[in-house]
């Protein structure tokens, strides 16, 4: 089998730039979300449609990013 409909795009979420990667393998859509800097995958999900997989992954990403604290210089 081969990945179909491979797509990568960037957007902001909670003030952080993220990269959304989605593709279909067999009957399943896989979505993973990286922080752009440093480029680490921190949320992923599967779904029966692209929208389903991305929505689930973005929900997880939003939850995780809400826990990332910014520290000001002291």
């Amino acid at each position: 089998m081969k990945a179909e409909g491979y797509n990568r795009r960037r957007q902001d979420l909670r003030g952080w730039p993220i990269e959304i990667e989605t593709y279909k393998l067999g009957d399943v859509y896989y979505c993973s979300i990286n922080n752009v800097d440093p480029g680490a995958r921190f949320a992923r999900a599967e779904g029966s449609t692209r929208e389903d997989a991305e929505t689930r992954a973005l929900e997880k990403a939003d939850r995780y990013l809400s826990q990332t604290r910014r520290f000001t210089a002291t």
Partner: protein, 275 residues
Amino acid sequence: MADVLVTTDWVAQHAKDADVRIVEVDVDTTAYDQGHVPGAAGWNWTTELCDTLVRDIIPIKKLEDLLGKSGIDNKTTIVLYGDNNNWFAAWAFWQLKMYGHANVKIMDGGRKKWVAESRELSTDKPNVSPKTYKATGPDTSLRAFLPEVQQASAGRKAALVDVRSPAEFTGEILAPPGLPETCQRGGHIPGAKSIPWGKNCNDDGTFKSLDELKKLYADQGIKGDGPVIAYCRIGERSSITWFVLKHLLGFQNVKNYDGSWTEWGNLVGAPVEKP
């Protein structure tokens, strides 16, 4: 192309050669099961490439068993690839070099490039004949421990390269966005230079040209004429930089400090610098 890198084309042509073993090592340990290069083995960095009792690299006997059951002997060409621009593929490469494996390479671009090129993926686990593997080492000249890093920082005896993101370097954040905080203090080791690992790579996950890489480090005064210690948070991102400096640029004295910020940033009394 450096002899430690192979292209996705090369892997497509040679993945099933008798003397070649392809191995996927991902940050996301479920990625292999989604689909992998046909015939590739999958190694889990959290359980198979470390000591699971104490914080350490994989013990020699465990490595020998892992390689043996993966159908690898001392003469096998191992080609590593993985997600996140080969973070843990480089981590595995570093450990294999410490244990003396001669012929190990990285697939340039990693899993991202293979998938983006819509190349064949398989969910089948390869059926391999176990082999006997005998490791040497570990060669600790490739690895920095805390006392050496402390001396390097205090006496400016080695170039310390912090490969984390600028926000981690400055202490604005304690971990990459979206990941758990694993340290008590933010900032960087005094004297370290910020050269994020991502600057080594192109957008498609491949490594930049040797000329670009040479300039990237030379602009920060790192030209291969002195010792270099790379670090990040847990040592996998710095494996990428170690790989670039040691094996692409050919610098002689380069170490990976795998204790990294999860050690330094949790150490009572350790000096921390913030710009």
